[in-house]
């Protein structure tokens, strides 16, 4: 856009306004500066913005809540697996492993196996099955919307997991374990 050309009158006006302003411009006063700075600091000592934002509210970070929930799920899954494998009781979930009797034909049914007696096949299959179990557990216990607001519903999630998983079964197995192992 072409710039409008200033008239002679406008130039005189601008020059006159600037000249008068520069004549009436106050000098810098150290006394006034000190007074302003004193008033400024007395009014409110500033805290860094980041500090002020964090005062009065202590919240768990979302990542920590999710990690605690995942760790709890893992512990529960391991306990259930131990009960399933070592105790010989029925699991609430279908096992992806081959039948114990088929893997160990010489061992009578109902008798527990020592860890040394477990063959490598069963251990590998078991390790592969644990993540699937946890995923299935989480999918069945927690809806996607609840995951979205896990921070608020963390307690509810843990309670649901506890209700869903057979803690009593795991505890009975851990009590029975010393008698089963020599």
């Amino acid at each position: 856009m072409p710039r409008r050309r200033r008239s002679r009158g406008e130039e005189i006006l601008a020059a006159r306004l600037r000249a008068e302003a520069s004549r009436s411009r106050p000098r810098f006063s150290e006394g006034l500066h000190a007074r302003v700075c004193r008033a400024m600091l007395q009014s409110r000592p500033r805290e860094p913005a980041a500090d002020r934002a964090g005062v009065g509210r202590q919240r768990w970070p979302r990542g920590a809540v999710a990690a605690v929930a995942a760790a709890a799920s893992l512990v529960v899954a391991v306990l259930v697996w131990r009960g399933d494998r070592l105790g010989g009781l029925d699991s609430p979930w279908p096992s992806p492993l081959p039948d114990r009797a088929a893997l160990n034909p010489g061992v009578p049914d109902g008798e527990s196996l020592l860890p040394a007696e477990l063959n490598l096949h069963s251990v590998a299959g078991l390790a592969a099955a644990v993540p699937n179990r946890i995923d299935a557990l989480v999918d069945s216990a927690i809806a996607a919307q609840q995951w979205a607001s896990l921070d608020d519903d963390a307690q509810l999630t843990v309670r649901m997991l506890a209700d869903r998983l057979p803690f009593d079964l795991a505890s009975s197995l851990s009590m029975a374990e010393p008698t089963a192992s020599p």
Binding site: A15, R18, R23
Partner: protein, 212 residues
């Protein structure tokens, strides 16, 4: 744009540091803007109480630094606060003066110093401008001619659009031009024999006329 060496922090950098808790940075900003803001407040509403208003401006700016956001420039933000404080002060004092007008009549005539100051103000272009322009026009003209602020930043101070500020400035110039008309006619007659330059006609021989 004024030249700034690399190691001199900009106003915006200082404001950010002050927001993070560095009082020294804000002190530097006070040093930079103390005179321009005081000058503005004296002319645009503050009058003799301009120093108190200046203090209030910086105290309020310091307390509200959290509301300052980059990349917005610091100067318009500060002048916005100063202007609001000036307007509030003007309203307060006008109410008080209205209430005390009868007392003023009873106490007699203004002092000689007041009469001289008033007469000087009447002869000055800025004094005349203050009488014929609205507060918005006066602020726009001051920031444009004295602070060399671009129209977009003036718009931020006034809370108007860029086009609105252009219109304000156009109207203000149209009202102010008749006041310098006698100078123009003098310049036509006196300019002929010796072209000594516009500034001599304005009575300001050493004035540099910056290009806006």
């Amino acid at each position: 744009m004024p030249y700034e060496p690399a190691d001199v922090p900009s106003d915006e950098e200082l404001a950010c540091r002050a927001r993070r808790g560095c009082a020294g940075s804000f002190e530097q900003l006070v040093r930079r803007y103390q005179t321009p803001v005081l000058h503005f407040l004296r002319r645009c509403g503050g009058g003799p109480d301009a120093e108190d208003l200046l203090q209030e401006t910086f105290v309020r700016a310091y307390a509200n630094l959290d509301r300052y956001r980059e990349p917005r420039r610091f100067a318009p933000w500060l002048f916005t606060i100063a202007r609001r404080i000036g307007i509030n002060h003007y309203r307060r004092t006008r109410r008080t003066e209205d209430g005390e007008s009868l007392d003023g009549v009873a106490s007699g005539m203004p002092s000689p110093a007041e009469i001289v100051a008033e007469e000087e103000d009447r002869q000055e272009l800025w004094g005349m401008a203050a009488r014929i322009l609205s507060e918005e026009e006066m602020t726009a003209v001051w920031l444009h001619y004295v602070e060399d602020m671009p129209a977009r930043e003036i718009a931020a101070v006034l809370g108007r659009s860029w086009v609105g500020v252009k219109t304000l400035l156009f109207r203000a110039r149209r009202r102010l031009l008749p006041l310098v008309e006698p100078l123009r006619s003098r310049s036509r007659t006196e300019d002929r024999p010796a072209a000594s330059g516009t500034n001599m006609l304005l009575g300001v021989p050493d004035l540099e006329v910056p290009h806006a």
